[in-house]
Amino acid sequence: MSTAVSREVAGKVRIILVAAAVLLVASSFMPLWYTEMESPQYHGDDKIVVEVYPGRLTGNLREVETLNPYIGVHLPLDAPELRALPWVLGAFPILILGALFAPPALQRKVLRVTFVIMAAGAIAGATALQWRLYQLGHERTHSILTRVPDFTPPIVGSLQLKNFHVECGLALGGWLVALAIALTAFAWYVSGLESIRLPSLAMIRHHLHVPEIR
């Protein structure tokens, strides 16, 4: 069903894929996700920040662990999906390399599979994170403070947990992974075109009604 990628777009597809692979490799050195906890006595320089890197958590985990008993939560420091993260993120650029060097007749197919696997991986990761966040706020042991109701921190968003304002979101590495997945999808789209014409300077001028300078 899928046809061979035309010669005209093959080069461009390659550039897009290389860019996606570079972003993925870069993201493995960056935090993917963060949470910031702020309260009257933990603000400014004292704000507690935890970041999820591929395979590990960083930040003042000691302080988080010291405060956790008050509400009876535990950081899932040894969660298997956290340990799997570097392998998963390491597999993505390999898949992309596969697509890059696939024979032209198969390249579209390989690209589609690559995109689907990566998108599924991202969704699975986000689901696991949200599940862990739910667990964190619901499967609590006996807490020191009384009358702290269960809670669910969002992946992206904020939460008021007693005196703490908790802010969560994608960190730079997370954005890079998302961008790499989008680029892969874009590469797949481009690979189906007969030809691709990047707008020339003259075309841009024409569209913007800029008179030519003589």
């Binding site: 004292d46 302080e63 403070l145």
Partner: protein, 602 residues
């Protein structure tokens, strides 16, 4: 007749009303002025003061730290007196050994001196003397903690204390009282000496001493590091007050530091008390110049431009201005004196604004007088710029960044000896009175009066922006730190036990530990907190022990478990919602106790 009476009454009422009205107006004007002054010293919540003012604590043996311009007490640094609150110098601690090995557990601090690099305060150390026991201490300003104490050999009473610019080559300390250098051999009036000690600023070891006739009072050094100066009273070498004030002239001792170093190199010294001592009468090159000044001078201060050293007259209403460059050039040292302006009664100390003005405290007049140095030197009779009343009897006065090459010229502190009616009564022992004066304009303005416990003598005022970035708030663990999960008890001898514990909200690493009566117990605790301001204490009931452990710090205390039974230990620094629960038990089994008590648990 009657109408005349009424018209007279009417007139009187009108006049009274007019007077009252104008008085009201006057007081309104005054009130606006007060609002304005209040704004100058108000530091909004969460904002910082502009300056640290380090004040010697006098008989308290400590150093007090105030914020300027707010006058708020920020810290008290114990130096020569134990302070259990900070776990400082309580028996069984290293700081106790440091203090005890140098003399009594009390001292009398007078003159704080901040270390300098390139002629400006570098904020590494603060030095402080102990007048009572001839000691000097170094405070590490990264921690605001006393780290070194040393006794100065041969002399009695360490008074004037200053650093030698531009890079703190020496700490200079005056040995004030005249006494025999070797008291162990008994009283020997003929051998009495006094002089100046030159100390290594890090080890506080006395590198050498220079004997000076009479008593060394206050000191300072020239900005280029060539000269060390001290006011020198009692050149009569008298033993009572009548003898001490007999002559009309005393001196400023000017010690030529390179000449003294050369004398040491050439071996022109005697060794006394393990220290090289220079007798200036016996060196090949002149080491000591005695510049004559009116009798019994007090303050000794070098101007920021390094041109002059001035002696404040005390008994003479003058300040003697000496041209430093002339000291080793003139035949008659009277000729090094370039001005002797009359400033008022009882001039004690002089400080600077960096704009060519000097500020001298007048003890008897209860004033600070501002005078222009260039005008005084030029013989212009109009050298007095302004005077301001202070309350009462000022001793030292110190302008912000006053001993650097660049005084900032905005604030001046007057450290007054008496407070009388200044504060709410607290019994016959009265708080000491400090006054903050705005010196940024032509006229001085009184801003604030704030109390301190007795008794600050002198101050050193340093910019917060220069020091605050260097101050540590959370320490990194040291080599002997107890790591998490490593709390344990080790019996290392038949009567010796080592206890290792962590401390973090809200428990000690051990809920209890057991020792035997008579054991020598070493308790080492590491505060494994990683956030600032989370200090924990460790107090043991009826054992006189309290440690203070700042985040990351490890402290050890050693004691004999001589009281059997259960002794709860607990955290003394309020740390968390479970602070009260942060405790444990030291179980001391009695010597004759056969079987340890079984825990009764529900």
């Amino acid at each position: 007749m009657r109408s005349r009476f009424y018209s007279g009454l009417f007139l009187s009422i009108m006049i009274a009303a007019a007077v009252a009205l104008s008085a009201c107006k006057g007081s309104t004007g005054q009130k606006e002025g007060i609002d304005d002054l209040a704004r100058r010293v108000y530091v909004p919540v969460g904002k910082w003061d502009k300056y640290y003012a380090f004040l010697s604590g006098g008989q308290g043996g400590n150093v007090l730290v105030f914020g300027i311009p707010s006058g708020r007490l920020i810290a008290s640094i114990p130096v020569f007196e134990p302070r259990a609150q900070y776990g400082y110098a309580i028996p069984g601690t290293p700081s106790y050994e440091m203090l005890k090995s140098t003399g009594p557990l009390w001292g009398d601090t007078h003159h704080p001196a901040i270390s300098e690099t390139n002629g400006d305060y570098d904020g590494r150390w603060l030095f402080i003397n102990d007048k009572a026991n001839t000691r000097v201490a170094r405070i590490d300003l990264t921690h605001f903690e006393t780290v070194k104490i040393a006794r100065i050999p041969n002399f009695q009473s360490a008074h004037g204390t200053a650093v030698v610019p531009p890079d703190t080559k020496y700490l200079i300390v005056d040995g004030e009282f005249r006494a025999e250098p070797d008291p162990a051999k008994g009283v020997n009036v003929a051998a009495y000496v006094a002089g100046m000690a030159f100390l290594d600023p890090i080890t506080l070891e006395t590198r050498f001493e220079v004997l000076v006739p009479g008593n060394c009072d206050i000191n300072d050094a020239s900005k280029d590091g060539r000269w060390a100066f001290a006011t020198n009273y009692n050149t009569e070498k008298g033993l009572n007050i009548e003898e001490m004030i007999r002559n009309d002239e005393d001196a400023i001792s000017a010690i030529d530091i390179p000449a003294a170093e050369e004398a040491i190199r050439k071996g022109e010294f005697v060794t006394m008390g393990g220290t090289k001592v220079i007798d200036p009468a016996k060196t090949s090159k002149k080491v000591l110049y005695l510049v004559p000044v009116p009798k019994n001078p007090h303050g000794c201060d070098v101007s920021p431009d390094g041109k002059y050293v001035v002696a404040s007259g005390k008994l003479s209403p003058t300040v003697t201005v000496i041209d430093i460059s002339k000291i080793d050039k003139v035949k008659n040292l009277h000729d090094a004196i370039v001005a002797q302006p009359e400033v008022g009664m009882g001039p004690l100390h002089t400080t600077w604004d960096g704009r060519g003005n000097a500020y001298t405290s007048l003890f008897i007049d209860s004033q600070i007088v501002k005078w222009n140095v260039a005008k005084a030197v030029a013989g212009d009779p109009d050298y007095i710029v302004d005077r301001i009343d202070v309350h009462y009897n000022p001793g030292h006065t110190y302008a912000a960044m006053g001993r650097t090459r660049h005084p900032s010229g905005d604030y001046l502190l007057s450290l007054n000896k008496l407070s009388k009616d200044m504060f709410i009564p607290v019994g016959p022992t009265m708080p000491e009175s400090q006054e903050l004066i705005d010196i940024s304009g032509h006229k001085m303005k009184m801003l604030l009066n704030f109390p301190a416990e007795s008794e600050p003598h002198d101050a050193a005022i340093m910019r917060v922006s220069d020091l605050a970035p260097k101050v540590v708030q959370v320490d990194q663990p040291v080599a002997n730190a107890v790591a998490e999960g490593q709390s344990r008890v080790e019996r290392v001898g038949p009567h010796e036990v080592n206890v290792y514990m962590t401390a973090i909200r809200s428990r000690f690493g051990l809920d209890s530990f057991t020792v035997k009566e008579g054991d020598s117990v070493h308790v080492t605790i590491t505060n494994i907190e990683t956030v600032r301001d989370m200090t924990h204490g460790f107090a043991v009931e009826d054992y006189g022990i309290n440690l203070a452990l700042d985040p990351g710090q490890t402290r050890t205390v050693t004691f004999i478990a001589d009281k059997p039974g259960t002794h709860w230990y607990y955290c003394t620094w309020f740390c968390s919602a479970l602070h009260l629960e942060m405790r444990g038990r030291m179980l001391v089994e009695a010597a004759g106790q056969k079987e340890p008590q079984k825990e009764a648990r529900k």
